[in-house]
Amino acid sequence: MAEFNTSVKDQGEISVVYLKGFLDAHTASNLENTFSGLVENNKYKIVVNFKDLSYISSAGLGVFMAFIEKVRENAGDIKLTTMSDKVFNIFDLLGFPLLYEIFNTEDEAVKKFEENK
């Protein structure tokens, strides 16, 4: 079974979530738990780093949809960074760039949050 795990780094108000491995219907709950944890702790400024993510399925994309509303209601956002071309293509096909800000680097995403303070 393909592996997937997440880790979270706190950077002031901003939480950077690192994804690694295969994010599909079986591992989506793992990311759900991570997001739930952040939301419970009132961390709504979330940067997701896709550097080590090799695959994302539709169920994986659904996790972002599940939380974005709640996060934005609380003056936060989920910003996506550092996607491989393949992963970006999956997001792009569905039109995610119309709904989410996607950056090339983590720093850009963090900076964006800081500018809008």
Binding site: A2, D24, S58, M65, K86, L94, G95, L99
Partner: protein
């Protein structure tokens, strides 16, 4: 206090005994009967009745606890030592307080006769107790009903005791001798029936061996000093000849019984260890079979395990805790509160996380920092790791309070038992898993059945359009959907869609969108319009993390044109003049946005169809099909395969693509539905 007194007098056995003792006292001291035969016999009978009532009274105390033969034997030893002291020192003690005791025994003062009565009574009580212990030992672990032998023996002992006074009449001594000899014979026969030794463990047998030597010697010594003519003998004879004889017989019984016991134990010793092992195996097997029958219900199983655990090591409390991710889960806590158990669990787990111990170990709680927080004062734990498939699953913990400790035997018993418990727990878990798996498979069967019924049974046939479709479901239903709609005015609509997620929930969404598009295509015909309406309808039913990617197309047969809108789905490929063109108008997936943005961003494009144009619709099950190295089939290989077959009829093109995909993924399982629809314009 009053209550105790009340209990005391309510006890009918005690009352009988006290009554008899009182009568005896009056009879001996106050009446001071002459030494004529009838009076003596009545006195003897009274004495024997008192013994009998005392034995019956003692039984109650002995049977309150489970009988351990070794402690019974120890009791005998102690009473014997007391008797020995009584007999040996009686002469000097009496002489200290009274003058010329030896002469005055026959004709004592009130004071002396009271003291003599008390002395005799003490001897009587000791003998009664010894006799009772013999009785208990005799019946211990006796299989057949052997009471006949014992009762016969009692009768002859009584007869031998009662006839003892005859020794003063030399002509008739044969009567008492006969009774005595028969009694001794019966004693020997009864002493041979020792069946409880086999049930002792080796250690107990060794201590029994030593005890039996000491006690048989004590009995012999007591027999000798009892029957030798001294003050003791005189006092007893004055009190009751029957008691004197009774004590002799008891001493003989003891000497015989313990000599035989010594040899029996000696012969049992070499096989003791084997017997121990067998006994342990038998009891373990009993536990195991108990566990096996409960594997079906995990909670019941856990309860049984802790229940047996407390029994095998005589612990006051027992519970199981299992590792559950990062949590420790307490199960089946017996005689201990959940809070206490949880506190101790964390203590154990912190200590043992990296120890890798596989056998039972003892932990003293005096080093436990939070011991004050426990509501019960547990002092020692025996912790048995539960290991299955070489992996630590949790611990079976037993706890004792106060000064109780776990000894090696407890440890060994827990070790053996926890092995069985681990296996049973693991089996139960596996069973639960396979039941769950079966349930999931059933669910997926249902999902596949729904999907099969939703998808078109056959492809429509037109003059200018030939249509081919292939659908290969994944084991876990992937949520692919395609459909064709005949729209009035010689128009033809088609859709391909992929519901996010898998399984039965995806299948239900498919069923829902089929209904939506069936009805929308009756009223609307423009792809963008239809997709926007569909998105609006879905707003009320889709949960937030579910969305659908779709392409809706409309072919006008008369005009030879194709209108197309794409809601987040894979692009449509147009094969024309040896090239594959990606048709990719912008558009969000259905359900990603329910506001204005969905319709604002959704494009609709129109293409004029040329002869031999092929329109290829597909889901990511093709491009993301993976080989064993987890590489994707990919867009490029897909397009190459299509172009190689560009001049073939759509059926052939589709088959070639599927063959290529199958070849690429040959050793890997299909993880998503594969859908391929090809429309060829003629």
């Amino acid at each position: 206090m009053e209550l105790n007194l009340l209990k005391f007098f309510k006890n009918i056995k005690l009352k009988t005994f006290l009554g008899l003792a009182g009568v005896l006292f009056l009879y001996k001291i106050v009446l001071e009967p002459t030494r004529s035969v009838p009076f003596q016999v009545i006195g003897d009978l009274l004495v024997l009745l008192t013994i009998a009532s005392l034995v019956i009274y003692f039984i109650e105390y002995l049977s309150n606890e489970t009988l351990n033969p070794l402690s019974l034997v120890m009791n005998l030893g102690i009473i014997n030592v007391i008797l020995f002291c009584l007999i040996t020192f009686s002469g000097s003690v009496f002489n200290l307080f009274f003058d010329n005791v030896t002469e005055n025994v026959q004709n004592p003062s009130i004071m002396l006769s009271t003291v003599m009565f008390a002395y005799s009574f003490l001897v009587l009580a000791s003998l009664a107790y010894i006799f009772l212990v013999f009785k208990e030992l005799y019946f211990l672990k006796q299989k057949r009903n052997a009471s006949v032998y014992f009762n016969t023996m009692i009768v002859f002992i009584i007869l031998a005791s009662l006839t003892y006074f005859i020794k003063d009449y030399p002509d008739y001594t044969f009567i008492k001798n006969t009774f005595l000899i028969i009694s001794i014979l019966l004693i020997v026969i009864n002493s041979l029936k020792i069946s409880w030794i086999a049930f002792l463990v080796k250690k107990e047998k060794i201590s029994l061996l030593i005890l039996s030597v000491v006690i048989s010697i004590l009995f012999v010594v007591n027999l000798i000093i009892n029957s030798s003519t001294g003050l003791h003998d005189k006092i007893l004879m004055q009190f009751s000849p029957a008691l004197n004889q009774f004590s002799n017989i008891i001493m003989i019984y003891g000497a015989i019984y313990f000599s035989i016991l010594f040899f029996t134990t000696l012969f049992h010793l070499p096989t003791a260890e084997a017997f121990d092992r067998k006994a342990q195996e038998v009891s373990s097997l009993q536990y195991f079979s108990k566990l096996i029958t409960q594997v079906l219900d995990f909670d019941d199983l856990a309860e049984t395990i802790t229940d047996i655990a407390t029994k095998v090591c005589n612990a006051q409390a027992s519970w199981i805790f299992l590792k559950d991710g990062n949590d420790l889960k307490t199960l089946a806590n017996k005689n201990i509160g959940l809070l206490d158990a949880n506190l101790i669990n964390h203590f154990i787990y912190r200590r043992e996380k990296y120890s890798g111990r596989s056998s039972t170990f003892i932990i003293k709680l005096n080093k436990f920092g939070e011991i004050e927080k426990l509501s019960e004062k547990y002092s020692t734990l025996a912790v048995a790791p539960l290991i299955a498939h070489k992996e630590l699953k949790g611990y079976l913990v037993s706890a004792k309070k106060g000064d109780f400790i776990f000894d090696d035997e407890d440890k060994n018993a827990l070790d053996t038992f926890s092995d069985y418990a681990s296996v049973a727990i693991e089996n139960s878990r596996l069973l639960e898993e396979s039941i769950e798996k079966e349930r999931l498979e059933k669910e997926l069967d249902v999902a596949r059945e729904i999907q099969r019924k939703i998808l078109p049974a056959q492809n429509p046939v037109f003059d200018r359009l030939s249509i081919s479709s292939v659908f290969i479901p994944a084991f876990e239903v992937g949520g692919d959907y395609y459909d064709f709609f005949e729209i009035s005015g010689n128009k033809f609509g088609f859709i391909i869609a992929d519901v996010s997620g898998k399984g039965i929930s995806a299948a239900f969404v498919m069923a829902e969108i089929k209904g939506i598009f069936e009805s929308l295509t009756r009223t609307y015909e423009n792809p963008k319009e239809i997709l926007v309406k569909a998105n609006q309808i879905l707003k009320g039913t889709l949960d937030r993390k579910t969305f659908i990617s779709a392409v809706f197309g409309l072919i006008d047969m008369k005009k030879g044109s194709l209108k197309i809108s794409r809601a987040g789905h894979c692009p449509v490929l147009l094969l024309r003049n040896g090239f594959a063109e990606n048709i990719r108008p912008t558009g969000l997936g259905l359900g990603l946005n329910f506001g204005a943005r969905f319709s604002e961003t959704l494009e609709e494009i129109e293409i004029k169809l040329q002869e031999n144009d092929s329109i290829v619709l597909y889901t990511d099950g093709i491009t993301e099909a993976k080989n064993i190295k987890m590489e994707d089939f990919g867009d490029r290989l897909f397009e190459e395969t299509l172009l190689q077959a560009i001049n073939d009829p759509p059926d052939v093109i589709a088959n070639k693509v599927i063959a290529q995909v199958t070849d690429f993924t040959k050793d890997n399982s299909q993880h998503d539905d594969i859908t391929l629809v090809i429309l060829k314009w003629k």
